[in-house]
């Protein structure tokens, strides 16, 4: 017992030490010097930027006559951000669900009786796993860049660029969640004669649903952030306004945009948590 405890503590120490050494090595490779963070020049500008956090702008810092009121314009770009995220998720969730369904073996009928069907299902299984891995291994921004260079900028292309990796990620997590849950209800249904599909739909899916829903909400939140980032490659979301404000050193306006994004993320997080609680009981 004592020896086991010691080994446990020893490998904990080894893990921590390993991570710390790796981090220091990486810092050295990147040439990170903590002193540079506290150099006089950076401190001034950083101080100016972060002190603006305490007084976010409520109107334009350099008002242009005839422009839309600042808060209204900010709110509109926030809504556009939400819209872009919802569109991307509207494509990604069905695609991800379909992919994860094909990548899971939980709904397969008894394959001992259907040889040919088994081969086909296995082929489908590996193809969808490979598609999942490929789709998510390329970052959404790179998909966006590829689409922009290949055809040009449009909102459809941007939505699809986000939806491709997102369906891969959703499919991966959905299928992991389907694997993780206990199979007893599913097996009970099968033992009284339910087919593979029915046992999957009524025995396994309801159990995994709360997890699936809350992960989908988390992903919607990620989609919001991605939508903001796509403002930097030209789609007019809140990120676009952040970039414009930054070009003119309007730090207080930037903080307003960041706080709005935070409010939306917090709202979605709260909504998702509430739904999860209801589904679990």
């Amino acid at each position: 017992m004592n020896g086991a405890l010691q080994r446990c503590a020893g490998s904990r120490r080894a893990t921590l030490l390993g991570i710390a050494l790796a981090a220091l090595l990486c810092g050295w490779l990147l040439g990170l010097d903590p002193r540079r963070l506290f150099a006089d020049g950076t401190l001034g500008l950083a101080g100016e930027f972060f002190s603006a956090a305490f007084r976010p702008a409520l109107s334009y810092e350099d008002p242009v006559p005839g422009a839309q009121p600042f808060l209204l314009a900010a709110l509109r770009s926030l809504l556009d951000t939400l819209r872009f995220a919802v569109l991307a998720m509207a494509v990604a969730v069905p695609c991800g669900a379909l992919l994860s369904f094909f990548a899971s073996s939980a709904w397969w009928p008894d394959l001992r009786r259907h040889r040919a069907l088994g081969l086909a299902l296995r082929a489908l299984h590996s193809t969808s796993r490979a598609a999942m891995a490929f789709a998510r291994s390329i970052h959404e921004l790179l998909w966006g860049l590829l689409f922009i260079t290949a055809i040009g900028l449009s909102s459809e292309a941007a939505v699809i660029a986000v939806a491709i990796p997102y369906s891969g990620i959703l499919a991966k997590i959905y299928s992991e969640m389907l694997e993780e849950h206990a199979r007893d209800a599913q097996e009970a249904l099968r033992s009284i004669g339910a087919g593979g599909l029915a046992a999957f739909a009524f025995g396994l899916l309801p159990r995994a649903l709360p997890d699936i829903v809350s992960y989908t909400f988390y992903r919607l939140e990620c989609a919001l952030r991605t939508a903001a980032v796509f403002g930097f490659i030209g789609i007019e979301t809140i990120g676009y306004r952040i970039r414009l404000a930054s070009d003119e050193f309007h730090y207080r306006e930037i903080w307003t945009y960041l706080y709005l994004l935070f409010a939306l993320v917090a709202l979605i997080e709260w909504w998702g948590a509430a739904i999860r609680r209801r589904l679990k009981t």
């Binding site: 990486c26 990147l30 819209r83 509207a90 290949a150 040009g152 449009s154 952030r225 935070f262």
Partner: protein, 312 residues
């Protein structure tokens, strides 16, 4: 036995009764309606960005892109054996290998930094610790102190959500405009966002760890910090490290694009190739990025499995 005697007769009436008494939640109904409304609005409200490109222009763009997609030496000689030397040159002189290394370094440094700060802040967010009665042991102080502890937990949680809501790329852009083109900007951008996520996940782990060994520490006057450091943290160590590697994996993915902001990492080479209209190189580096992400996923999955099965 009485229960069995009063069991209702099966039949349509019973089915209707069961149907009436099924659990119903106004929240779920409202959410479903709101979700549908959100979808309809998102589809119906028109383009977010109005593209001025006609179909022909898009077609021409696509042709130009596809024509330049095969690696330049292969395009000239028509022989795919020229591919390997070209790829090696891109990795060496083209700085591909260096960018791969720096991408991993960026992710690791940022993940470690966010992990350290998350460990420091998470006891403030764990509701079982930041509580007037830590781990269910009566603290014996009322009123103001109790309200204070609830405020600490609320504020730390809000702070986590706030840092989490900041997208890495936007943060990187802002920090570069403040700090200049310095790798610190990208490391901090990744670290701030992941700090929020790791903090929240870690607080959840802390709350779900069985409080058995930690309670005597509090009962003997060890305090909240003592209970956290000596009992809760060691007991939940593996799960914390699992989360760390899970975030490291997403850091690697994000680090591939942060270079688009102009410093180190693969993203820089990709935008550079794009602006030079060298689409073959651009796609090469994008695929190299995909390889990095897959390698990161694989490594992290191996470590997580090892932590789950070997040492629990």
């Amino acid at each position: 036995m009485e229960h069995a005697a009063t069991a209702p007769e099966p039949g349509p009436a019973r089915v209707a009764e069961l149907r009436r008494s099924r659990p119903r939640s106004p929240l779920l109904r409202f959410s479903a309606l709101a979700g549908v409304a959100l979808l309809v609005w998102a589809w119906a409200a028109g383009d977010i960005y109005e593209s001025h490109l006609t179909a022909e222009q898009k077609g021409a763009n696509l042709d130009r892109f596809l024509a330049k997609l095969t690696p330049a030496p292969v395009r000239e000689s028509g022989d795919w054996s020229d591919f390997a030397p070209w790829a090696v040159r891109l990795l060496g002189e083209g700085r591909g290998a260096e960018a791969v290394l720096l991408t991993f370094a960026l992710a690791t440094a940022a993940a470690a930094l966010s992990g350290v700060f998350a460990l420091i802040f998470l006891p403030g967010a764990a509701r079982n610790l930041a509580n007037p009665d830590p781990l269910g042991i009566r603290g014996g102080r009322g009123g103001l102190a109790a309200a204070g502890w609830h405020a600490v937990s609320r504020c730390t949680r809000a702070f986590f959500v706030f840092t989490r809501s900041l997208p890495e790329y936007v943060l990187g852009f802002l920090l570069i405009s403040v700090l200049g083109p310095d790798p610190w900007a990208l490391v901090l951008a990744l670290a701030v966002h992941n700090f929020g996520i790791l903090g929240r996940l870690g607080a959840g782990v802390g709350e779900n760890t069985p409080p058995g060994p930690a309670r005597p520490v509090v009962a003997h006057g060890g305090g909240r910090l003592g209970a956290y450091l000596s009992a809760l943290l060691p007991a939940s160590f593996n799960r914390m490290v699992v989360y760390f590697f899970y975030r490291w994996e997403t850091c690697v993915r994000e680090a591939t694009v942060l270079g688009m902001l102009g410093v180190v990492s693969l993203g820089y080479l990709i935008t550079d190739a794009k602006s030079g209209r060298a689409f073959d190189q651009m796609v090469f580096f994008v695929l190299l990025g995909a390889l990095i992400v897959l390698a990161g996923d694989l490594l992290s999955a191996l470590v997580r499995r090892w932590l789950r099965y070997e040492r629990t």
